[in-house]
C-alpha cells in the first residue's frame, strides 16, 4: 500500500469514550434516572406451553406503590423484525410458548414493590404438550405453537439447488456424508437489556435503550404502541455489548413504553441475567446432514446440505438466518454444485435469533470439518485442499453472489506459515494437535429487512467555526467502536485531527437514518456515507480557498488542518479560515452523504440474502493439548490471519478478532443452555452457563494480511463477524489431529472426549 498515505486511517487511535468508561462515568441505560421514574417488572409464565385461561391483576393493582399493570391483550399488535411475518406480541395473549414468557407487567415506585406485586398476579393456565426438540415438535399430531402457521411447527422451509448435484456426486472420487449438531448458546453480553420510556404531554414517546438497532426498535415501537413514528424518539446511550442479542425489539422495551403510557410516568425496565437468557435470540442449534464430494485432486465437486434449525418459540430473525445458512455454503471456496434444504422449527424454548456471524457458524463448522476429513482421506494436507478450492481475488458464486475483493488465499498462506501448521499437522505426539479452518462474512447486506429503496446509511457533517466538526450518523456504537471508525474516516477526509471530530450517533431524531449495528455493515455502509458527505464539504470549501489563495481549486488538497496547493508548498491556508470565509459568504456549511448497497438478487427463494457490497475473510490455526485421561481440551496456541481490507484502527481490529475467537472457543468447549423436558432452563446464570474466563484463553496471535478493497471507504471491510466463523472447526480439527476423534457435536466437553476415546479404544 505504498502509494496510499494516510494520517489517521491505520493508526491506533484511542476511543473518545474510553476515559469516561474507565472512570465509570459513561452512562448506560440502567444509569438513567428521571424525575418520577417508576420501575417495571415482568410477570413470567410458569409453563412452557399452555393456554392462558385468565389473568387476575386486581390484587397487584391494589398494592400501595403500584402505578400501572399491563397485560398482553392491551397491546395485541404483532411485531417482528421481518414485518411480513410478525409472530410476537409485547406480552403473551392467549397462550404462552416458552417457560418464562412475559404475561403481565407492573410499574411501581420501587423495584421491591413491583416484584412483590408480580406475586399477586394470578394466572390460570391450561397446559399443552411441551416440545423441547425439533423432532418432537414436527412429529405427527404435535400441537402447533402458532395456530395460524401453515405448516404446523415448521416455521419456514426452503430449497435451493444450483448445478447438477447428483451427477457431481456420482462423478466424485470421494464423498462423505455426516450429521453435525450445534448447541444452544447465548451471546452473554455483559449488560443486561435495559430501557427507560417516557411519555410527555404531547403524547410523544422518548426511549433510551440498550439496543443495537434504534431504527428497527423505532419501527416496532410504532407498531406495538400504535403510534406514528414521528412521535417516537429512540436514543441509545452507551451499550454494554450486543453481539446480535440486542438486534430487535425486546419485551422490556415494549413493556416499558406500555407501562409508561398507562402510568403517565417514566418507567425503567431492566432484565436480570435469567431474563436475558429468556429473551435469548442466541444462536440456532442446527442438526445438519451434510454431504460433500471431491475429485482426485481434492477439488470440491458438490455440497448437499439439509439443516433442521431449532428456532424456539417465535419467528424473530429466523427466516433471514435460514437463508443465510444457505448462502454460507457457497464461500469461501469455489463450489459448482450446491443443494440446500433448510427448515426452521418452532419449539417451546426461548427464541433463537441473530448472534455474531449469524447463519455462518453452524455450516462453517460442518464444512471445514468435512474438508479436513476429505483431505486426510486423500492423503493431502488440509491446507493444500483448502488453498486449491479457495476463491480468487474476484469471484461469482453459482448462486450469483459477487465477491469484488478477496485475499482469502493470502489468509490461508499467512496463518499456515505463522503457526507452523505444516511442521505440526500429523506430526505432534498423541494428545497434541493443530487444526486449520477458514471463513468469511458479509460487510453489510444488500437489502433492508423490509421492502424499501431508501439508502441504508446517511450521514450529516456540519462544519462550524464555533462548534467545530459535528458528524451525525444514526449508526450505533455498541462497544465495537463504530463512532471511532466513522470519526477517523471523517478526520482523514477533512485533513483534521481525529480528536476534533464530534460524533452524534445512535439516535433516531438527532442523527440521520441508519439501519443499525448488525451484519457487520457499519464500516462500509455508514463509512461510505460519511466519506461522501466529507467529499461534498471539501468540494464546497476548496473553491473558497482557491479564491483566497489565488489558485485553482482542483490543485488544492486538505491535510494537517490546512488547505494547500499540491504543487507549491508555500500556497496554503488554515482549514478553519476557509470554513469561516465560506460561512461568511454563503451561510451554514454542511453536507450529507448516503449509502445504498449494490442490489443483486438471485431468481430463487431467498435470492436476496447473502449479497453484500464486500466480504471479509479469515483463516485460523488452533493448537490444542488434550488430557487423554480426563478428556480436558486446552487450546494452547491460536493464530489468525484476516482480510478485513485496510484496517481503520488496527488495535480495534485485533480486539474484534480476539473477542471473536474467545467467544467461539466458549461455544466449542463449554457453553450450552440446558433444559428440562418440561422446558425450564437449567442454567440461566453465569456459573453454570460457562463463558471463558481469563484463565481459559490461549496464546492468541492475529495479523491483518495486506489488503485494500478499492471500492470500499479507505479499502475497509468487516472484522467483527468473519473471525468467529472458523474457530470451532479449527479447534475440532486440532482435536482430531491430537487424538484421532472427529467430533460432530458441541460443546466438546471432557466427558465427551473421554467417551469418544473409550469408544475408539474398543474399535
Amino acid at each position: 500500500m505504498s502509494d496510499r498515505k494516510f494520517s489517521v486511517i491505520g493508526t491506533d487511535q484511542v476511543r473518545k469514550e474510553a476515559p469516561d468508561k474507565a472512570r465509570g462515568e459513561a452512562i448506560y441505560a440502567d444509569d438513567i434516572r428521571l424525575p418520577r421514574m417508576l420501575h417495571g417488572r415482568i410477570k413470567r409464565s410458569d409453563y412452557a406451553h399452555a393456554r392462558i385461561i385468565s389473568i387476575d391483576t386486581s390484587a397487584a393493582e391494589a398494592l400501595p406503590g403500584v402505578k400501572a399493570v399491563v397485560v398482553g391483550s392491551e397491546a395485541p399488535q404483532k411485531y417482528g423484525i421481518v414485518p411480513q411475518a410478525p409472530t410476537e406480541t409485547a406480552m403473551a395473549i392467549d397462550k404462552v410458548r416458552y417457560h418464562g414468557e412475559p404475561v403481565a407487567a407492573v410499574a411501581a415506585t420501587d423495584p421491591d414493590i413491583a416484584e412483590k406485586a408480580l406475586d399477586l398476579i394470578e394466572v390460570e393456565y391450561e397446559p399443552l404438550p411441551v416440545y423441547v426438540n425439533t423432532h418432537d415438535a414436527i412429529a405427527e399430531g404435535a400441537v402447533a405453537l402458532h395456530e395460524d402457521n401453515k405448516y404446523g411447527n415448521i416455521a419456514y422451509q426452503a430449497r435451493q439447488e444450483f448445478g447438477e448435484v447428483d451427477k457431481a456426486f456420482e462423478e466424485s472420487h470421494l464423498v462423505i456424508e455426516k450429521t453435525y449438531k450445534t448447541s444452544y448458546v447465548n451471546h452473554v453480553f455483559m449488560e443486561p437489556h435495559s430501557a427507560v420510556a417516557r411519555f410527555d404531554d404531547n403524547g410523544d414517546l422518548r426511549m433510551w435503550s440498550s439496543t443495537q438497532v434504534p431504527h428497527y426498535l423505532h419501527t416496532m415501537l410504532s407498531k406495538v404502541m400504535d403510534m406514528p413514528m414521528a412521535k417516537i424518539h429512540v436514543t441509545v446511550p452507551n451499550v454494554g455489548g450486543g453481539f446480535g442479542g440486542k438486534g430487535e425489539a425486546s419485551n422490556n422495551e415494549l413493556i416499558a413504553a406500555l407501562l409508561s403510557r398507562k402510568a403517565r410516568r417514566p418507567v425503567k425496565v431492566i432484565y436480570s441475567r435469567r431474563e436475558v437468557f429468556l429473551q435469548h435470540r442466541g444462536r440456532h442449534p442446527i442438526e445438519m446432514k451434510v454431504k460433500m464430494g471431491v475429485d482426485k485432486e481434492g477439488y470440491i465437486t458438490a455440497i448437499d446440505y439439509d439443516g433442521l434449525m431449532d428456532g424456539g418459540a417465535y419467528g424473530a430473525w429466523g427466516i433471514i438466518i435460514l437463508f443465510y445458512t444457505a448462502a454460507m455454503l457457497h464461500l469461501p471456496y469455489k463450489v459448482k454444485n450446491v443443494r440446500f434444504f433448510g427448515r426452521r422449527i418452532y419449539t417451546n424454548k426461548p427464541t433463537c435469533g441473530p448472534m455474531r456471524g449469524l447463519g455462518g457458524v453452524q455450516p462453517r463448522f460442518a464444512l471445514e470439518s468435512m474438508m479436513d476429513e476429505l483431505a486426510i482421506k486423500l492423503g493431502m494436507s488440509p491446507y493444500e485442499l483448502k488453498l486449491k478450492n479457495a476463491i480468487d481475488k474476484k469471484h461469482v458464486t453459482v448462486s450469483g453472489v459477487h465477491v469484488r475483493h478477496s485475499e482469502y488465499k493470502k489468509c490461508l498462506e499467512e496463518v499456515v506459515s505463522e503457526s507452523g501448521y505444516l511442521d505440526k499437522h500429523g506430526k505432534l505426539p498423541f494428545g497434541k494437535g493443530v487444526g486449520l479452518a477458514g471463513g468469511y462474512y458479509i460487510s453489510g447486506t444488500a437489502y433492508t429487512l423490509y421492502m424499501s429503496y431508501k439508502p441504508h446509511s446517511t450521514a450529516l457533517i456540519r462544519l462550524d467555526s464555533e462548534s467545530g466538526v459535528t458528524l451525525q450518523c444514526g449508526a450505533t456504537d455498541i462497544g465495537q467502536g463504530s463512532n471511532m471508525v466513522l470519526a477517523m474516516m471523517c478526520a482523514e477526509k477533512l485533513g483534521l485531527p481525529y480528536e476534533s471530530i464530534h460524533v452524534i450517533s445512535g439516535d433516531t431524531k438527532n442523527a440521520p437514518f441508519d439501519l443499525g449495528s448488525f451484519a457487520s455493515r457499519v464500516t462500509v455502509a455508514a463509512g461510505s456515507a460519511v466519506c461522501e458527505a466529507a467529499d461534498k464539504l471539501i468540494e464546497q470549501i476548496l473553491p473558497i480557498a482557491g479564491v483566497a489563495l489565488g489558485c485553482r481549486a482542483d490543485q488544492l488538497a486538505v491535510g494537517n488542518g490546512e488547505i494547500y496547493s499540491i504543487y507549491e508548498k508555500e500556497i496554503r491556508m488554515p482549514f478553519w479560515d476557509a470554513v469561516e470565509k465560506y460561512i461568511a459568504a454563503h451561510g451554514p456549511l454542511s453536507a450529507t452523504g448516503s449509502y445504498t448497497p449494490p442490489r443483486r438478487t438471485g431468481d430463487f427463494k431467498g435470492g436476496n440474502v447473502g449479497h453484500s457490497p464486500t466480504y471479509g475473510f479469515t483463516a485460523h490455526v488452533a493448537e490444542v493439548d488434550v488430557d487423554t485421561e480426563t478428556g480436558e481440551v486446552k487450546v494452547v496456541n491460536y493464530n489468525e490471519a484476516g482480510d478485513c481490507g485496510q484496517p481503520i484502527n488496527p488495535l480495534s481490529v485485533e480486539g474484534q478478532v480476539e473477542g471473536s475467537i474467545v467467544m467461539a472457543m466458549g461455544q466449542a468447549l463449554y457453553e450450552e443452555i440446558k433444559m428440562t423436558p418440561d422446558g425450564r432452563l437449567m442454567n440461566p446464570n453465569l456459573h453454570d452457563y460457562k463463558v471463558p474466563t481469563m484463565r481459559d484463553i490461549p496464546n492468541i496471535k492475529t495479523l491483518a494480511v495486506e489488503s485494500y478493497d478499492e471500492d470500499s471507504p479507505f479499502g475497509a471491510k468487516e472484522a467483527g463477524e468473519g473471525p468467529i466463523q472458523p474457530t470451532i472447526p479449527a479447534i475440532l480439527n486440532a482435536i482430531y489431529d491430537a487424538i484421532g476423534v472427529r467430533f460432530t457435536e458441541m460443546p466438546v466437553t471432557p466427558e465427551k472426549v473421554l467417551a469418544a476415546l473409550a469408544a475408539k479404544g474398543q474399535e
Binding site: 476511543r15 476515559p19 474507565a22 453480553f189 454494554g240 455489548g241 441475567r273 480486539g655 492468541i700
Partner: protein
C-alpha cells in the same frame, strides 16, 4: 426497619437510611448515585460490580451494605485522583482494553487490588487475579496487555515520587 448508617465511599462519608436487606451495589448505584459500579448478574458470577473494601476486591452484589460500615469503600469513581487518570485507567485506555466498557470498572478495580499486592505480576498471576471478571468483547488479550502496562506505569510513578 431502616437505620441511618454512614458509609465512607471514595473518601467521603455518606449518611444513608438503609434496610438490612440492602446490598452494597444497589446503595452505591441507586442511593448514592455512583453508577459506575455495574450489575451484570447480581449473584456474584461476573465481577462487574467489583469494588474495593479496605483495599480488597469484593463483589458488591453479595455484600450487605450494613456490613461495610466503618470500612473504606472505593468504587471506580474513586480510582482517579482528581483530573489525572490513574495509571491503571490510562493503561486500559491506551492498550485498547476497553470496548463496550461494561466490565471495565470491575476490571480496573481488580487490577488495582492485584497490583497493590503484586506490583509486577506474571501473565499467570494476572489471569489468576482477574479470572473473576468476565469480559465478552475483548477475549482478554488487550486487558492482559493493559495490566502489564499498568504495572510498568505504576512502578515508574513510584520511582518518580521517591
Amino acid at each position: 426497619m431502616k437505620k441511618i448508617i454512614t458509609l465512607n465511599i471514595n473518601g467521603d462519608d455518606y449518611d444513608l437510611a438503609i434496610k438490612p436487606t440492602d446490598f452494597l451495589v444497589d446503595i452505591v448505584r441507586d442511593t448514592v448515585g455512583l453508577t459506575g459500579t455495574k450489575k451484570g448478574c447480581n449473584i456474584g458470577d461476573c465481577g462487574a460490580c467489583t469494588v474495593l473494601v479496605d483495599g480488597r476486591p469484593i463483589l458488591s452484589c453479595l455484600t450487605l451494605a450494613m456490613s461495610v460500615v466503618g470500612k473504606k469503600i472505593k468504587t471506580i469513581e474513586g480510582v482517579a485522583d482528581g483530573p489525572e487518570l490513574d495509571p491503571v485507567q490510562q493503561a486500559f485506555i491506551d492498550k485498547g482494553a476497553i470496548q463496550c466498557g461494561f466490565c471495565t470498572p470491575g476490571m480496573i478495580l481488580s487490577t488495582t487490588a492485584l497490583l497493590e499486592r503484586n506490583p509486577a505480576p506474571t501473565e499467570e498471576e494476572i489471569k489468576h487475579g482477574l479470572a473473576g471478571n468476565i469480559c465478552r468483547c475483548t477475549g482478554y488479550v488487550k486487558i492482559i496487555d493493559a495490566v502489564k502496562h499498568a504495572a510498568v506505569l505504576k512502578t515508574k510513578e513510584g520511582t518518580d515520587v521517591r
